[in-house]
């Protein structure tokens, strides 16, 4: 009786022993994200190098987490940064506050900011989670998680 009950209890366990595992070997393997997945932000430039962002702060207004800071300045003939009259001298996103809602992307009248597919954003230092404009304009650096002994996990 008791053996039968024990086996009954293990039924689910044994059944799953025969199935292929749902988990994958992250970080060596990664689950593909959906096309509309909202990950790390990216600021964009035109092909001629001028930034799309004009520092209008509409993303700041839209942000429910209040994690964006924009300080704008005027473009001058010898220092033309964006295509408009003004540009963002400072553009910072505090990733530790960001809730990845994507409102900034929706608010942006110039399609200057988008939310991309990177999600490996962890840092050892909280200060490093404040992304500056230069970081946001660049490709996301490949972050490689470290093993305890300091070597890279993916070899």
């Amino acid at each position: 009786m008791s053996v039968q009950n024990t086996l009954k209890g293990f039924r689910v366990t044994f059944r799953h022993l025969l199935k292929r595992p749902e988990t994958i070997g992250y970080p060596e393997k990664k689950t593909p994200v959906f096309p509309r997945f909202r990950g790390r932000h990216r600021l964009w430039s035109f092909d001629n190098g001028l930034e799309k962002c004009v520092g209008c702060s509409l993303c700041v207004a839209a942000c429910p987490a209040d994690c964006i800071r924009v300080v704008a300045e005027e473009n001058t003939p010898d220092n033309r940064v964006s295509a408009g009259e003004r540009y963002a001298r400072i553009y910072e996103i505090n990733m530790s506050r960001c809730i990845f809602c994507g409102y900034c992307e929706i608010a942006c009248p110039f399609d200057a900011i988008t939310l991309e597919h990177e999600y490996e954003l962890s840092e050892y230092d909280r200060g490093a989670l404040v992304y500056t404009k230069d970081m946001l304009l660049a490709e996301h650096p490949k972050k490689v998680p470290l093993r305890e002994d300091g070597s890279a996990a993916s070899g």
Binding site: V54, G55, C56, S57, L58, V60, A61, V70, V71, A72, E73, E74, G84, E85, R86, P109, F110
Partner: protein
């Protein structure tokens, strides 16, 4: 900006009319837009602005239907009448308003994301509420190069202009300079000045507030913040004693902008600001700002912490046998009160004096019914005695112009050149002859219904006999009132607290000196003050900016500017008004009152005021003129303090003799050449300097030429300034502009501003 004129629905002359099917009331003759707004119905407007005089009807946005009037009519220019039937919401009206907006937007670039007005733009707001959802316009829009620098402080974006004429009307009908116009016509219309001219003037910045779109924007504010990045704080301007009500815009700890309030103080500035009030905040971010406490210890100068500086100040002052407290003319009532308490208790054997207290002999005049600036509007005769409102109390000029437009007679009497002479009858008196010059004005005061005298305390202090003449004339007409324009912003407040003038202290051994926002070395009798300060004990300076005095001081403690602390100033018309902190100020600085309290702790007798509010409460309890006031009764708009009784009549009426050789000296100060104007980055281009003015005939006699440097010598000192010849200047006197940072004209004067003569020579 106020959109609609205030409407009094409690009066007796109300008429009933029908508004969207509802029977409502409004005073007869009120414009429909205002009558509707008072009854809770918004009619969209762009060109209508109650303060710009008669409505123009330029934008056509306020079309409404009124039964009996064919078609639609503009609500801004239709006065309300009894039994009128007004519809502001019918399909016809809605379509018309929608259509006008579509038309206005036809050439508008819709560059809201880069526009400074975006987010606080009437055009945006009204397009959302009354306008079309989308544009049918596919043709290319009108393009102009942008932005255009209309003046060093104002940027013009002609693409955004909707030709509402508000700025043009301001220039033509309010500041009356007529320098801003609309050129060309139709689709090519644009706002311009005379070819090549910059739009210069004392009040030009107001067109920025007036502009209902982003066509006129402030260059110092350009692109610094968006409306959702900022906090606005109502406060009061401390640049002159008019005390205009302002709104401070704060972003990231700094003042980014000062503008007129949405709900202006109709008794004071009506929403207008002068350019110094608007852009003077730049002085707070100037390199001359004190950011670090300084200690001078046995020849060594070093920076220290705030705590260390206060401790050192307590130490050096406590060891003096006697001490002197010098208050600037702009200390708040709270600071002055706490400083007085310090002098009465913890400070050893202390005397208090302030540069802001002038005219002990003017008591009888001050005791007469006090008027507010707003009362100038309703006067039928305005006599301006002395002073130079245009340069010294700028916004008062706009009130005088408004009164003249309303039909008041303006009489200007005084020894100074005035820029307002074209406003009415002008009697330029030689120094010493003011009483005589008042004869005609006095006769007129007796014959009119509502005379009002605007007087300058310095010019009447120099000629107290004229004050007696004036006080007698005003006393004889029960409807007469007087408005004092003090030379310092809180002069009336210091007087109400019973602070004495500081000039009596200059000849005494000062002992240890505690100077709060004071800089006597740069004021009248500066040389005498510097001698007294050099021979006295250690100097503790509490100041917001570097000055000659901070160079001499043993301890320098940086304090808040008037944009950064809470306090009360008593401004023109004896009006107590609240300053509110718009920004935090430098890290190593503190509000003046807080430093004084901390100092009291160091001096061993702790004053227990935890906030400016409690200090003000104690001040009102001790000063009869302030009794009954507290922060809540002052609120946003301030309140009048009690008129001081005419007690100080010592020496009233005795003319003051001129000291020294040569021509009598008349001096005046200009806000546009003061510290704010010179220190603020946005204003320094248009800041005025020191100069001497002579009549050409007088200059020929003295053998000095126009635009040359001349030396003026008085018994008190010497100064070198550039000469300007002005055929309008009186013969037999020299006029000199003082009060310019780094200037030397003040040194010609005696500490008590006793009238002096000067000799004039080519430098």
């Amino acid at each position: 900006m106020p959109d609609y004129a205030p409407v009094d629905l409690t009066g007796t002359d109300l008429v009933e009319f029908e508004l969207n099917g509802r029977t409502v009331k409004a005073p007869a003759g009120t414009m429909l837009v205002d009558a509707c707004a008072a009854n809770g119905v918004e009619v969209p407007i762009f060109c209508y602005e109650p303060r710009l005089g008669d409505p123009l009807g330029a934008c056509r946005q306020c079309l409404v239907s009124v039964e009996g009037i064919p078609g639609l009519t503009t609500a801004c220019s239709t006065p309300v009448a009894a039994e009128m039937m007004v519809d502001t919401v019918s399909e016809e009206v809605r379509e018309a308003q929608d259509g006008i907006l579509e038309l206005l937007l036809e050439n508008h670039p819709l560059d809201c994301p880069v526009c400074d007005k975006g987010g606080e733009c009437p055009l945006q707001d009204r397009t959302f509420r009354f306008g079309p959802g989308e544009s049918r316009m596919v043709e290319p829009k009108r393009h102009f190069p942008k932005p255009l620098k209309l003046s060093p402080q104002i940027a013009l974006d002609r693409e955004r202009c909707i030709s509402c004429y508000r700025c043009v009307r301001f220039s033509q009908d309010v500041s009356e300079d007529g320098n801003l116009t609309m050129s060309e016509r139709g689709g090519r219309s644009e706002i311009t000045t005379f070819t090549g001219d910059s739009y210069n003037g004392r009040f030009t910045g107001n067109v920025i507030d007036l502009c209902p779109v982003g066509a006129l924007t402030s260059i110092p504010y350009r692109f610094t913040s968006r409306p959702w990045d900022i906090q606005n704080t109502p406060s009061v301007c401390a640049s002159c004693s008019v005390g205009c009500n302002t709104e401070l815009t704060l972003r990231e700890g700094e003042i980014k902008r000062v503008q007129g309030r949405d709900e202006p103080n109709w008794q004071v500035e009506e929403g207008w600001l002068c350019n110094v009030g608007r852009w003077g905040y730049g002085a707070d971010q100037a390199p001359q700002r004190l950011r670090q406490p300084i200690l001078r210890d046995g020849g060594e100068t070093r920076e220290c912490s705030l705590e260390e500086a206060v401790a050192a100040a307590g130490l050096v002052l406590a060891h003096e046998a006697h001490t002197t407290v010098l208050l600037g003319g702009d200390v708040t009532v709270e600071e002055a009160f706490i400083a007085k308490e310090l002098a009465a208790g913890p400070l050893p054997d202390a005397q208090v004096g302030s540069a802001g207290v002038v005219g002990a002999a003017l008591g009888p005049l001050r005791a007469l019914p006090a008027a507010q600036l707003g009362d100038i509007d309703g006067a039928d005769l305005v006599v301006v005695v002395g002073g130079d409102p245009a340069n010294q109390h700028p916004v008062a000029e706009l009130r005088l112009r408004k009164a003249r437009r309303a039909g008041a007679r303006i009489v200007l009497v005084g020894p100074r050149a005035q820029e307002l002479e074209s406003l009415g009858e002008s009697i330029r008196t030689a120094p010493g002859n003011l009483a005589e010059g008042l004869t005609s004005a006095v006769a007129q005061i007796a014959t009119v219904k509502r005379p009002l005298v605007v007087w300058d305390e310095l010019d009447l202090d120099a000629e107290p006999d004229a004050a007696v003449v004036l006080a007698t004339a005003l006393g004889d007409n029960a409807a007469a009132s007087q408005l004092e324009l003090t030379s310092e912003v809180n002069g009336a407040g210091l007087r109400a607290l019973g602070v004495a003038p500081h000039s009596r202290l200059v000849d005494q051994d000062l002992g240890g000196v505690l100077a709060v926002r004071a800089n006597p070395g740069a004021g009248p009798g500066g040389d005498a003050w510097n001698r007294a300060l050099d021979s006295g004990g250690p100097i503790v300076v509490i100041a917001s900016h570097h000055s000659e005095l901070t160079e001499r001081a043993t301890v320098v403690i940086p304090c808040s500017s008037h944009f950064e602390h809470e306090g009360v100033l008593v401004t023109a018309g004896q009006r107590a008004q609240r300053l509110r902190p718009g920004a935090a100020g430098p890290e190593q600085s503190a509000p003046g009152w807080e430093i004084l309290i901390a100092l009291s702790h160091r001096l061993g007798v702790a004053l227990e005021y935890r906030s400016p509010r409690s200090a003000f409460a104690a001040a009102t309890a001790s000063a009869p003129a302030l009794s009954g006031l507290d922060y809540d009764t002052l609120g946003d708009l301030g309140a009048e303090i009690a008129t001081s009784p005419a007690s100080d009549v010592n020496g009233a009426g005795a003319p003051r003799a001129h000291d020294g050789e040569g021509l009598p000296l008349v001096t005046g100060r200009s806000v546009f050449g003061g510290p704010e104007a010179h220190l603020s980055e946005g204003l320094v281009v248009t800041a005025t300097g020191e100069e001497a003015v002579l009549h050409p005939a007088e200059a020929a006699r003295l053998n000095v030429a126009d635009a040359n440097l001349i030396t003026l010598n008085s018994p008190n000192g010497e100064c070198t300034v550039r000469l300007r010849l002005d055929p309008g200047a009186p013969e037999g006197a020299v006029f000199a502009v003082r009060g310019v940072p780094g200037g030397t004209v003040e040194s010609l004067l005696a500490p008590d501003r006793a009238p002096v003569n000067v000799t004039v020579n080519t430098a």
